[in-house]
């Protein structure tokens, strides 16, 4: 119970704090706007492609991923630079319960991304954004965001040894945009890509949101996959943290970049 309370409080305070970061806000709002505009011109000019509503949702998820892959991966580095990493590690709370709310709070900023993308598509391009299954959509949004945040948590743990963790995380921006079906239908990609996309939460988050919005299938399977992947990312991230933190404490390198 103590851990849950600390995680909720940690999430709330970091969400408020990161919501005041102009760089983060502009990235989550501008990324979908630029890519939604690009998709609008490309898919209207082309002869095939997903519907613009799916593209709007896809660009929203792209914004979530864009911020998560960079900012969440660098979350530990940022604490180290602020000089509070040792204090956080020394706290009686398990360290994963400190770090996970930070990365989930960062990806939760993506809710602005999703809203901006849908509003922009509706207001500027006049594309009607109807949601077929509101219940599933309302469930899918937080579940998708949380699963992407947990992937960010695993990245943060995995890249703890890299001084340029944000840059290592950033390496995954375009590949995940490409293979997870956010804007590009998976059918266009080589067949061997699809199984790889299954291990990334944005794939299932996108499927859940798209199916809930368009009614193109049941979104509940994808929502369940998001939950399952969150648990896997959490377990792997916690394990990696344990290994790296023990190593850093043994060598006395926790505060070193």
């Amino acid at each position: 119970m103590r851990v849950v309370r600390a995680m909720v409080a940690g999430w709330a305070i970091h969400f408020k704090q990161e919501s005041r970061n102009p760089f983060f806000l502009w990235i989550v709002i501008c990324t979908p706007l630029i890519y939604a505009t690009m998709a609008y011109f490309l898919f209207r000019g082309g002869t095939e492609g997903p519907t613009l509503v799916a593209a709007a949702i896809g660009t929203g998820v792209m914004g979530i991923w864009s911020l998560t892959t960079t900012a969440a991966a660098a979350a530990l580095q940022q604490r180290r630079r602020m000089g509070i990493l040792e204090l956080l590690v020394a706290a009686p709370l398990p360290f994963w319960a400190v770090l996970a709310p930070i990365t989930i709070a960062i990806s939760a900023l993506g809710v602005y991304s999703l809203a901006a993308s849908l509003l922009y598509t509706r207001l500027l391009f006049g594309v009607s954004v109807g949601i077929e299954d509101w219940v599933a959509f309302v469930v899918a949004v937080p579940v998708s965001i949380a699963s992407i945040g947990m992937l960010g948590f695993m990245f943060a743990a995995a890249f703890i040894r890299f001084r340029g963790a944000w840059a290592v995380g950033n390496l995954f921006e375009f590949p995940v945009w490409t293979i997870c079906g956010l804007l590009i239908p998976i059918a266009v990609l080589p067949a061997w890509v699809e199984p790889i996309s299954w291990v990334f939460a944005p794939t299932w988050g996108m499927n859940a949101l798209r199916d809930a919005a368009l009614g193109s299938g049941s979104p509940w399977g994808a929502i369940a996959m998001c939950v399952a992947l969150s648990v896997v990312y959490g377990a792997l991230g916690a394990l990696l943290l344990r290994i790296f933190l023990r190593s850093a404490r043994n060598r006395g390198t926790l505060a070193l970049t």
């Binding site: 502009w26 990324t31 000019g45 492609g49 001084r163 340029g164 390496l171 804007l183």
Partner: protein
């Protein structure tokens, strides 16, 4: 004159190396080289999905715009990193020629942009099986160099704004996004609204990309010379405005004692 050349060459070289996490080259690979290729793949498959243009269009467009990344971000970072390391005031108070100082920092960044673009072009073409006529290689090198210079011109404007605005990384991202959208890199200019394609004529990259596409399609260097001239002119205009703004904002910052606060 000798002192100016020294500031230009040695100062520029050290500043360039400092951009990569204090002399660590692995950041060069993961920040510039790998993303330039993954970006090409993303847009090539997006183009296939939309059925708008072929792979060649996206390989050439995104390889050329890869020259913009070092120009935009690198130039802005030369200001923000100085502020971060608390050396900006020392730099501003020094009697060094601002022209030599900033051109010295711009030159390696422009060459870097050209190298990244060449890498992206080569790897993107190999992966997506895009054929480039052998006769186009040298003219393409010229095109990429001209475009890298022109992007660095915009980068100097971006850097000057860093004297007034703390969030220069944000501005760099916005400028890059705008180039991706409006400079004919990923969306053909005839699919954009008229006002946007008109703005594109004043952006770096627009003419360079068009010239590169012409060369890959079989045009000669003479055929694309007017486009390269336009690209060069755009770059010169941005560089001139940028150097003027650096001077202006520096004087204003000294007057208001806001150099470290922006």
């Amino acid at each position: 004159m000798r002192r100016r050349l020294r500031i230009f060459a040695i100062g520029g070289f050290l500043s360039y190396r400092a951009l990569f996490g204090w002399l660590n080259p692995y950041l060069f690979v993961i920040i510039l080289l790998v993303p330039s290729v993954t970006q090409i793949l993303f847009f090539a498959y997006l183009g296939r999905a939309a059925g708008v243009e072929d792979d060649t269009f996206y390989v050439v467009g995104n390889a050329v715009v890869a020259a913009a990344v070092p120009g935009l971000f690198g130039m802005a970072d030369t200001i923000t990193d100085e502020r971060y390391t608390h050396t900006l005031s020392l730099l501003v108070v020094s009697p060094a020629s601002r022209l030599a100082l900033f051109l010295g920092r711009a030159a390696p960044v422009a060459v870097n942009g050209a190298v990244v673009a060449a890498f992206a072009f080569t790897v993107g073409s190999l992966i997506l099986d895009v054929t480039v006529p052998a006769s186009a290689f040298l003219p393409l090198v010229v095109t990429v160099l001209v475009t890298a210079f022109s992007c660095t011109g915009l980068g100097i404007v971006n850097a000057s704004l860093g004297l007034r605005w703390r969030e220069s990384a944000l501005l760099s991202n916005l400028l890059l996004y705008f180039l991706l959208l409006a400079a004919g890199v990923n969306v053909p200019l005839d699919l954009l609204p008229g006002w946007l394609s008109t703005i594109a004529q004043g952006l770096p990259v627009t003419h360079g990309v068009e010239a590169a596409r012409g060369l890959v399609a079989g045009d000669s260097l003479a055929d694309v010379a007017p486009l390269l001239g336009a690209e060069l002119l755009v770059g010169l205009a941005y560089a001139t405005v940028g150097l003027f703004l650096v001077r202006l904002f520096e004087v204003e910052a000294r007057r208001g004692a806001t150099l470290e606060l922006a």
